[in-house]
């Protein structure tokens, strides 16, 4: 029973306490590049979740066979295989979104968040714990991407999931185009990280008092 709780805690830690993007600042490239709309952010989050879950599953199952000095190579090849599967699947079923994501689907291979989970958790812990961790990290990643996607899509295009949400007066030439361009990504993530730090600092102070 105790083990089940710790799995749950491992899961929660990935989503909130140690959110890969907002707290650990890992996997920044897709975070910044594909969050110009919520749709892209969700698809990217799901693809990365699939890869991290499968890579943790394989690495954790084989953890007693992998020799320490070739482990990084094994991680990378495992991840590359599942990224190829994810890429071909996206191309087959949602071609439009896959075209928008472009090179960033194959770039999941070098997403440091995934290799970090293999190195920190999967190679040491059992399959159940590794899976819980992978789901937590994957969902935490998707959550962070969605926050950025929502902010940037609403301010930049006045829409959400391609549906108009802001009044016409705003859309009539007053959208903040900068939010869907590269600078908007950096600025939004900077502000969101600031807010998260602020909330965490307050939480820590409140807990102590």
């Amino acid at each position: 029973m105790a083990k089940e709780v710790s799995n749950l805690e491992q899961f929660k830690d990935g989503v909130l306490g140690n959110n890969p993007v907002l707290v650990q600042l890992l996997g920044m490239c897709p975070t910044l590049a594909v969050t110009n709309s919520l749709e892209n952010a969700l698809v990217m989050g799901m693809a990365a979740t699939f890869v991290v879950v499968m890579s943790n599953l394989i690495t954790s199952t084989l953890r007693n066979l992998i020799k320490p000095h070739v482990r990084i190579l094994i991680f990378t090849l495992t991840i590359a295989t599942f990224v190829t599967i994810a890429d071909l699947t996206l191309k087959a079923y949602i071609f439009e979104v896959s075209k928008k994501l472009g090179a960033f689907v194959p770039l999941i291979i070098v997403n440091c968040m995934i290799i970090c989970r293999a190195e920190v958790v999967a190679i040491k812990k059992g399959v159940a714990k590794s899976l819980a961790d992978a789901f937590g990290i994957g969902i935490g990643f998707t959550l962070a991407l969605s926050i950025l996607g929502v902010v940037r899509e609403i301010l930049g295009s006045g829409t959400l999931m391609n549906r108009q949400v802001l009044p016409d007066a705003f859309l009539d030439g007053h959208t903040w185009v900068i939010m869907v361009l590269p600078p908007g990504a950096f600025l939004t993530l900077g502000v969101v990280v600031g807010v998260v730090n602020h909330v965490r600092a307050r939480g820590a102070k409140g807990g102590a008092a």
């Binding site: 090179a103 770039l107 070098v110 361009l181 950096f186 600025l187 990280v193």
Partner: protein
């Protein structure tokens, strides 16, 4: 093949579509190794070096191995599903090779690069540049691909060195507590990216 096309490709990838500030590649080292100018410059040099070699070698893999074998089977794209695995293998082994070569023949350079060399394997600017070379119609010959890769590396070096220069000054300014560290760095990167959008319209 005119020299103008090459200059166009070079300017486009180094400034207009800068891999870091417009393409969001290599953000991790861009944020992580940009505390001091000399470190940033070293990282930039190492990346330029590896990116140029990997760009050329991955081009050769696609055009001299995967496509001919595919042609022999009767379908040029038959082996393209191997691309990603092949690319990452090439980059990892190139980094290893460059490391051994430098250690043997240029020890001072090796010590200067230090821990950056192995780190470059997971730098997405490298894999990204190789993937873009593979995707773009204008980099389908070897010389263009080499120029693209080299320009991408120099663009990375430019961006990370400017960033380090700014951050050395930010250290002395009074930043709100919650924005210290990553927050202010991202905001500075945003303003830098805004400046780089000013290059839009040069070349293509």
């Amino acid at each position: 093949m005119s020299i103008g096309v090459l200059v166009g490709i070079f300017l486009s990838v180094a400034l207009v579509n800068n891999l870091v500030l417009a393409g969001f590649l290599g953000i991790c080292p861009f944020l992580g190794v940009s505390r001091k100018v000399d470190m940033a410059f070293g990282m930039g040099c190492a990346v330029t070096f590896v990116i140029t070699i990997s760009g050329v070698v991955t081009w050769l893999i696609v055009h001299a191995i995967l496509t001919p074998i595919g042609n022999a089977i009767g379908n040029p794209g038959a082996l393209y599903f191997l691309k990603y695995v092949a690319f990452i293998m090439v980059i990892a082994s190139m980094v290893q090779l460059v490391e051994m070569y430098l250690k043997k023949f240029f020890p001072p350079l090796y010590t200067a690069f230090g821990v950056f060399l192995p780190l470059i394997t997971t730098n997405c600017a490298i894999l990204g540049a190789c993937l873009y070379i593979d995707m773009k119609p204008e980099t389908q010959n070897l010389l263009n691909a080499a120029v693209y890769a080299f320009g991408g590396g120099l663009g990375f070096m430019l961006a990370i060195t400017i960033m380090a220069g700014i951050r050395e000054h930010v250290r002395f300014s009074d930043v709100p507590k919650c924005l210290q560290g990553a927050g202010i760095t991202l905001l500075v990167a945003g303003i830098l990216a805004l400046a780089f959008t000013g290059f839009t319209g040069i070349g293509k």
